[in-house]
Symmetry: D2
Subunit: 154 residues, 4 copies
């Protein structure tokens, strides 16, 4: 049991990620309380999510494609389990926990070097047509690629 | 009914705020998709929350007090209902929706100049002792001050 | 005499600004040394420069015009004369110190509420054609508008 | 000859760096003009400067030392020679071009993956006593360490 609504069992949940991206806390990302400012992990989530989508081959299309498809974030949330400090290495893990027609529920896990969890998070990403703003359904290939990265789902 | 878990009825919820802080979308806060980057509203929430706490007289203590009390954000979330663009004025409204012993559930509402809602959000703020990291209970005065700002609670 | 290469006489220089834009140091802009992080004033310069150009009527064209003209920053520098802290109000003043064919040398002055100078800066802005990347000459009207804001130049 | 005041000969200058730190342009660091926002390279300079000082063993003292010595940036400047875009890898090189009693003139060079120069910069770093704000002279060891990293100076 977990007090975090999107995590049923923390151990199982944490074990279900396969994609990892490392970030390092910049000096400019700290604040006068001496720790990482709490607005910054959302930047880490974005960076890790993009690396995840790049690893699936999606990002190239979204940035350069003529189809005009882009991903937008519909909602985003973060639970701060531990403070982070200047120079900390943080491993951000990413997975697609649920895949809809044109959206996906993306989960995030942040670990310190000692393996302890400092961040958890989730948020909905929707693929839209940039010109019309309307949702664009995932292709079957896209769905399979997101699914493949997630061993628990099989 | 609302699809957002922390909002029961959007109209009632939106009408329940009394504190407002205005921000304006900076050029440097846009991204290559041409709109406000989705990591930035968390900065707006922080700025507005601090102005809210300042209006209650809390911030002065937290920054300068010898007691070593500081507020930390335990979790934070945002729903992006509308895109925002460079130069948009956004009114960020803040209230304490629930007040615990040493924590408070802070709600956020972002409105464009035309009155339409572009952002909603919430997050738990906990008052802790900076040195020990342990929760510090609110004084009765603090609770009353947070409560007074919230007309629906009465 | 001034130790800063782009300022001949600090008093005269400081008196020559007519455009002012106010910013306030955000909590998220401080760092673990307890003061405003030194990368942030460049954001203030950008914000104030854009407000300055908006006051001249330039920005509207740059963001929406079909001509494809955009301003780019060719170089930027800042001298940090005093530390700034959370919640400080800083008045950022802007002027076009020199106007070239397609570029302008923009100067910046940052003052605290007590009138003391905390920041000085300068940088070249060039108007280019976004598609070709080539410089685009200012119209006579643009030159006159920039010149009018600068009383010392007459 | 170079149009940039702190660079006498670009080729010689560019060849004189030995310390390199790699950064990658984040999506959140782009702006609506589609490229890296010009306020961001100062963050890259800070990150690379800190990695440079860490490589010399200085940073540990500055962050944790009881002596209360901290480095502050007295001035900082950047010349933007080429646009940078989302996902670009940029190699930031750092050296101490001149070493004073308690300050150093730090130079910066940014290169794209193809070896072309996209950024140059410089700025004065001063070691001060955090409590008094007064300059603190470098130890002989510190001077030698900064000097060793700079092959042209010998």
């Amino acid at each position: 049991m977990s007090r975090i609504s999107y995590i049923e069992n923390m151990e199982d949940w944490a074990a279900s990620f396969t994609f990892t991206h490392e970030v390092k806390v910049r000096f400019s990302e700290t604040d006068m309380f001496g720790h990482l400012n709490n607005t910054v992990p959302f930047t880490y989530f974005e960076e890790a999510r993009i690396e995840y989508f790049k690893s699936l081959g999606f990002m190239q299309d979204w940035v350069h494609d003529e189809s005009g498809a882009i991903p937008v974030v519909a909602d985003l949330q973060c639970d701060f389990l531990q403070q982070m400090f200047f120079n900390d290495k943080v491993l951000i893990q990413v997975k697609a926990a649920k895949i809809g027609n044109s959206s996906a529920d993306i989960h995030y896990l942040g670990k310190k070097e000692d393996g302890s969890i400092c961040l958890t998070g989730r948020g909905t990403v929707v693929q839209i047509n940039k010109a019309t703003g309307k949702p664009l359904v995932w292709t079957e290939e896209m769905k399979q690629l997101m699914d493949k990265q997630n061993p628990v789902r099989k």
